[in-house]
Symmetry: C2
Subunit: 489 residues, 2 copies
């Protein structure tokens, strides 16, 4: 593919100047529409070293208002290397109405070694490509306009540019051994890059190859694609395709949550004894996790007043406070709403060696947001796969995932609500919304059923925890966490 | 000081249990007041290795709701090392109504070498202590409750704990050569720590020394101090001391801005020629900055429509977009309002080797916020010193600072406002507020006068840029930036 590109294409200086002027003023206008229509735009650059990425980005941002774009250099920071590799990409995805420009994307994946310098197996590379395609699809499904430019130059041109840069003592440092290697092994790299372009050109997420031996030609081609793609996106939004109305599927079976045996209890003495044992064990396991740089994600879901907070406290009681974080999840802020719904959770994922406990989670999408109509049917239907892909990506990174559903029955909930209202220290934990949610008990049962069926995976299984007896529930979660961690570490 | 501490203090297990239980439930209550009264609390731990910081923090957070506290391990990240050393502390300061717990604070400063392993001169150490004390004073002046605990253990006890940790293969990795060195040279370290405690115990920011050979004694002492300090802070807020009313000082001299010669112009040809020269020069200087890891901060202030945006674009036109960021400053968000006013700016400070351009800045505090009454008189009066200290801290880090005031006269402003209203592409740049600000022209003149007088420092001087002729203004800023950078690099 790259071999067949015609790199002799050039643009006369005069034509360049007048074309660029027109394109710039068009982009200046379009940017107001992007803000107005709240379109998130991601423009990513890949390609050879010294292929003119910096120059192209520099030209592209000139007509843009600094209030609505960001340029990101994507070479991984120290922190990035301690997270799943998509983490840093997720963090930098554009808010609605903003343009994010990535300097470098995915080219690193093309190489036979990863960021840590470890040789990749075919299976690992396939995993990477799967994750990349899923990430891009999630963004575009969510309304993001994604443009990817591969800056292509010839071997001779690259050599010439390296020479020029090295001649000047102020720019010589920009060229390192890896860059020179690229030129020496140009043909091998073409093979890598071809594969990467092939593997990551899915519908709506295709690469545009930019002939960049002549930088003027390259800049104008990029501008043209940017301008026409934004125009097309605006047009698409003004005339959205009609979606077929599908009827809500009806479940014929009894919901699984109605079948849970909530009579299970534990006696006081056994509780005290086991609590002590497990808490000491989990504390030790926490240090082991840190030493082995493995991370853990624990998700708590369940009805209101099911005892999530108290359960979490029993898990963390003897953990080193520097090794874990509890993330309470409430309604998204405005900024969070202006991103893909997984953005805010991705940001909170643990650094390798750490534990993050989510008190409610991304499953809100297929529970409360589905039930209350906070998102469209199409959005929550899509969310099951998006969630599975995210958890698989974590798991590929070595993260150990627990998902607990704490279940109580309606009578028990009523009892606990009343207790909360009577206790001045706990009154802040109960409000009108809790009472309203209670009326939707059956819809939660149904949604939870779908959720268990679609998101219980080998790498991230659900556990339903019988929680009418809080103490029983605490010991059960501690038991599962400690035994699984012992098995995996 | 530390030598005289009585480390034989212990607490009986039974007393410990009952005391702790009472203190925990008191802290649980107080936390609701902290949220209600929007008190920011910062609890910081310093002290010897293996002195029980982790255990103490673990106990302290048990009664707290995860919704309102964060624990931070303060060992510097890679990113932290590329910023002024207070940067990471600023980033983690608590929002109003939240508790931030720092594991380690300032102890690193006590050592004869800095984070990069470079030996410190006395002058540098004095600079560090000045910056630390200024930082702490800014937080407490802003209403933050600051508690600092120094965990003190004896040489023998430390040795015993190291042995225990090393014996167990799961914990052995927690002890490194530096820790062992601390025990070997215990007496020397006492001297360092004493000095640090002395230098950073200013009124309202004193260290509490915690006798920690007996961890039970330590935990209860910490709890008592935390509980009583919060109680005192609540009391203080309910009965604030009356502030004396001072009359607004009246300036007798003509404001400096009224004396600026706005007739200066540049002719078209000279402009084109110089623009080209300076833009090429600044582009090269940008790479030099990066190679030398020096950072640059450029502040733009001035009347509405003075041409800040256009001026900034001429500065950045040929800069590598990966090396600079333009930060447009608007009204603070709710989260930003819940922090010290400098918090949001500190977060945006450039990484070493990069340029950050602020389109409006922290000077809003002593301009619009002073004039509109968005902060108290006491707050903006205090701000001059806070700003100077922040800029000095940047300058100590090697950051080169430019501050430009773009000045136009009232007639020129009116002309530009009208032009904006007529141009559909620029209508979004003008609103009612701009017209209202225009009516307060004289008050801005007066405030700017005070600002120039109080914040023009050798390390961060102001330049007034005559901007009735936009082109003249652009060349003037470019000239100043390039010549100063050439001098400093």
């Amino acid at each position: 593919m790259l071999e067949k590109t015609d790199l002799s294409l050039t643009l006369d200086k005069k034509v360049y100047k007048s074309e660029l002027k027109a394109l710039k003023s068009r982009l200046e206008e379009l940017q107001l529409k992007i803000i107005d229509m709240k379109i998130p735009v991601l423009i990513a650059f890949g390609g050879w070293s010294a292929s003119g990425k910096g120059t192209s980005i520099g030209q592209l941002v000139l007509p843009l208002d600094p209030r609505c774009f960001n340029v990101y250099t994507m070479s991984p920071s120290h922190d990035d290397l301690y997270h799943p590799f998509l983490w840093s990409f997720w963090n930098k995805t554009p808010e609605k109405g903003r343009i994010a420009i990535f300097d470098r994307i995915w080219t690193r994946l093309a190489l036979p070694e990863d960021d840590h310098g470890i040789k990749l197996t075919d299976k690992e590379r396939d995993g990477f490509y799967y994750d990349v395609n899923s990430f891009e699809k999630q963004l575009t499904d969510d309304g993001c306009l994604l443009l990817k430019f591969f800056m292509h130059i010839s071997k001779d041109e690259q050599k010439r540019r390296f020479k020029d840069l090295i001649k000047n003592s102020d720019t010589a440092w920009r060229i390192n051994a890896e860059d020179l290697e690229q030129n020496k092994q140009y043909d091998k790299y073409i093979k890598y890059f071809n594969e990467m372009i092939n593997e990551t050109s899915k519908p709506g997420c295709e690469w545009s190859i930019i002939e960049a031996d002549d930088i003027r030609y390259a800049v104008v081609k990029i501008y043209r694609i940017v301008v026409s793609s934004i125009e097309a996106e605006i047009e698409r939004r003004l005339n959205p395709p009609a979606l077929p109305q599908k009827p809500e599927p009806k479940s014929k079976t009894k919901p699984i949550l109605s079948l849970v045996d909530l009579s299970k209890t534990i006696d006081e003495d056994e509780y005290d004894k086991k609590l002590d044992i497990y808490q000491n064990k989990i504390s030790e396991l926490g240090y082991k996790l840190y030493a082995k740089r493995r991370s853990v994600v624990i998700v708590y879901e369940g009805s209101d007043a099911a005892g999530k907070g108290g359960n979490i406290k029993r898990v963390t009681a003897k953990l080193d406070p520097r090794g874990y974080e509890v993330v309470p999840v409430a309604a998204p802020t405005l900024e969070e709403k202006n991103h893909h719904f997984l953005w805010r959770f991705n940001k909170k994922m643990p650094k390798d060696g750490h534990i993050t406990i989510f008190d409610r989670s991304w499953y809100g999408r297929v529970l409360v947001e589905r039930i209350e109509g906070f998102c469209t049917r199409e959005e929550w239907m899509r969310a099951y796969k998006e969630i599975n892909d995210m958890e698989q990506h974590l798991s590929n990174n070595g993260t150990i995932i627990f998902k607990f559903w704490l279940q109580i029955d309606k009578d028990e909930q009523l009892k606990r609500f009343k207790l909360r209202q009577e206790n001045p220290l706990k009154q802040h934990k109960i409000n009108d919304e809790d009472w309203r949610n209670r009326e939707k008990w059956d819809m939660y049962d149904l949604s939870a059923d779908d959720m268990f069926a679609k998101t219980s995976t080998p790498y991230a299984p659900w556990t339903i925890v019988e929680s009418n007896d809080k103490k029983f529930a605490r010991i059960k979660t501690l038991e599962i966490i400690t035994s699984e961690l012992e098995r995996r570490l």
